[in-house]
Structure formats: structure tokens, C-alpha cells
């Protein structure tokens, strides 16, 4: 009794039970009060990928344990997403034919998905404008496969 451990989420979720108190859950630092104030100050400057590549997904999983901070936690996650979304959408729609690694580096995995969806839309639109949309292309799987085979041959 009284020992502190780091457990994987799935284990904590399985062992957590309101009736039998096997364990109580402490929030990871990123979701604690001190970091929450950082997010509310300006969420745009935070490197979410460094803090945890699945900030949103993991944060919403933390709501499974009813801790008194749940309401604030949920609110912070939502607000963080809202304030970061505008910038993600903006950059994904306007970075055409550019190196996007600097833009993507600080995004959480969910946000990366959004960014890629935006980029795909932009690229498809550009190719439609240039009249290339009707061109049949080799499937990306085949192309990647060939690339990989080449690099294996070189090595």
C-alpha cells in the first residue's frame, strides 16, 4: 500500500475500479494544473509532439478515471485543439511544394492526420487545375515498393 508505480494505461484501466480500491491514478505531468496554465496561455507555441505524440487521444483516455480535475482537463484539451486548429488548417492549405517537416514537427499525431488531409486536398486541387487529374498513375503502393527494392539493391 502507498507505493507509486508507472503503469501502462491499459493496465491501469483494467485494475482501476471504484469499489475495490486497488489503485488510484495520478495524472501525467502534461495534464496537470501547471501545464494546463501553459496551454491556456498560448497553445500554439507548445511542442505537442515532444510532450506526447498522442496528446489528445491519451488525454481523453485519462477521463476514464474519475478524478476531481476531469472537467478542467477535458476543457483544456478541447481549448488547446480549438486554438491550434486554425494554424494547422492554414499552413496545410498554403504550403504547396514546400518542405513541411518544420511545420509538422510540433504537431500531435491527430493533428498530423489533419495536416496530411489538408495537404492532400491542396495537391489534388492543384493537379486538377493543371489538368492532370485524369491521368492514370501507378498506385502509390507499387511506387513505394519499387523505391524500397531499389534501395535494397543499392545496399
Amino acid at each position: 500500500q502507498g507505493t507509486k508505480l508507472e503503469l501502462p494505461l491499459w493496465l491501469a484501466k483494467g485494475l482501476y475500479n471504484n469499489k475495490q480500491k486497488i489503485l488510484s491514478v495520478e495524472l501525467p505531468t502534461v495534464y496537470k494544473e501547471s501545464w494546463r496554465t501553459v496551454f491556456s496561455a498560448d497553445a500554439n507555441v507548445v511542442d505537442l509532439h515532444k510532450l506526447g505524440p498522442y496528446y489528445y487521444a491519451f488525454g481523453s483516455q485519462m477521463l476514464n478515471f474519475d478524478s476531481p480535475e476531469n472537467a478542467e482537463l477535458a476543457q483544456t484539451i478541447l481549448q488547446t485543439f480549438i486554438s491550434r486548429f486554425r494554424r494547422i488548417m492554414d499552413s496545410s492549405q498554403n504550403a504547396f511544394n514546400e518542405d513541411t517537416s518544420a511545420l509538422v514537427a510540433r504537431l500531435d499525431e491527430t493533428e498530423r492526420g489533419l495536416f496530411q488531409a489538408g495537404q492532400k486536398g491542396l495537391n489534388d486541387f492543384q493537379s486538377w487545375e493543371m489538368g492532370q487529374a485524369s491521368q492514370i498513375t501507378a498506385s502509390s503502393l507499387v511506387q513505394n515498393y519499387r523505391k524500397r527494392k531499389h534501395s535494397e539493391l543499392d545496399a
Binding site: P8, W10, L11, K13, G14, L15, Q20, I22, G131, Q132, A133, S134, Q135, I136, T137, A138, S139, S140, L141, V142, Q143, N144, Y145, R146, R148, K149
Partner: protein
């Protein structure tokens, strides 16, 4: 710690995230199954003891049970994700897979692929008032019946509708019926040249 092998399986798929099919990790799956078997047996004996009054064993039992469920979830996710990738292969490569891809699949996956192929073919035959309709054709709406294509590698002889055969040689250019060469373009043998 339990479940590390299972997580490793998931990681393996995650690393090849662009839809590639890594080779089937038979060894990994077997190790996970062994771990699950051991966990189950330990749990069985502990459950029997717990029934006879050792209630302090309950958290341990729960812990093992969680690990069991986790392992099951990871293995199922591994297998299912592979199935989805294999299904995508049917649409990308057509019904005959290149050998290099086929060697990545386990025997059961090959069997599944063949059955999927069969049911898809049966479905496509039943469409279009009994004439059949190839759903993998014309993914993009066609603008003309014939298109200009360039050969990217030596393919050999190729027969078109009217019975003439043409030789698809590297860097040669042809004017072919679109529906005949769409598949070859998808496979990266021909390249569609826009005029």
C-alpha cells in the same frame, strides 16, 4: 513485463505505415500465444486458491487477466490490420500478386486472399444485368477510349481486342484502348502520357 512481444508486433506494422506488407511475424505471434497460455494457466490455479479463501490473490489475478486481454487485443489488431492491407493489394495490383508480396503472407492469409478474390469476382460477375462489371476499372472517369502510353519496362507481347499483338518494349510508345492498359499502368509497367 508482459505484453512487450505483442506491442512489438504492433510497432512493426506501425513502422511500415504506408500500406506496405511486412513479412508475417510467425515467431512473434507464437511467443505472444505462449505468454497468454502461461498467464491463463497461472490464473487458473490462482483462481482455485482464491476460491478457497485467499482473497489477497484477486489483484494478481486481475493483473494477469488484463495482460491476457491486452495480448489478445494486440494480436487481433495485428492480424486485422494485415488483412486490410492484403485487401488493398487486390485493388492495387489486380488479382495476381507479385511473388515478392506473396512471400510476405502466411498460409492462412494466402487462403483468405484467394477467397476474397473469388467472392469479389463472383460479385462483379453478377453486376450489370448478368454481363459483369469490373469494378477495379475506370477508377477515374475516362475521357477517351484510347490513351497514349509509354512503356517503363520490358513486358513482352500483349494482345489487344482486335487480335493483334504488340510488343511492349521499354521506352516504346503506344496508343491503346484505355481499359486494356489501366491495370498495367497501376502496376507501374506503363505510364500514361498526357498529350
Amino acid at each position: 513485463m508482459f505484453c512487450e512481444k505483442a506491442t512489438e508486433l504492433i510497432r512493426e506494422l506501425h513502422r511500415a505505415s504506408d500500406g506496405q506488407l511486412p513479412s508475417y511475424n510467425e515467431d512473434g505471434i507464437r511467443q505472444v500465444l505462449e505468454e497468454m497460455k502461461a498467464l491463463y494457466e497461472q490464473n487458473q490455479s490462482d483462481v482455485n486458491e482464491a476460491k478457497s479463501g485467499h482473497s489477497e490473490l484477486i489483484p494478481t489475478i486481475k493483473f494477469r487477466h488484463c495482460s491476457l486481454l491486452r495480448n489478445r487485443r494486440c494480436v487481433l489488431a495485428y492480424l486485422y490490420d494485415r488483412l486490410l492491407r492484403i485487401r488493398a493489394l487486390r485493388w492495387e495490383y489486380g488479382s495476381v500478386l507479385p511473388n515478392a508480396v506473396r512471400f510476405q503472407m502466411s498460409a492462412d492469409e494466402v487462403l483468405w486472399f484467394n477467397q476474397y478474390k473469388k467472392s469479389l469476382a463472383t460479385y462483379m460477375r453478377s453486376l450489370g444485368g448478368g454481363d459483369g462489371l469490373d469494378l477495379t476499372q475506370d477508377i477515374k472517369p475516362p475521357k477517351s477510349l484510347y490513351i497514349e502510353v509509354r512503356c517503363l519496362k520490358d513486358y513482352g507481347e500483349f494482345e489487344i481486342d482486335d487480335g493483334t499483338t504488340i510488343l511492349l518494349k521499354k521506352n516504346s510508345q503506344h496508343f491503346l484502348p484505355r481499359w486494356k492498359c489501366e491495370q498495367l499502368i497501376r502496376q507501374g509497367i506503363l505510364e500514361h502520357v498526357l498529350s
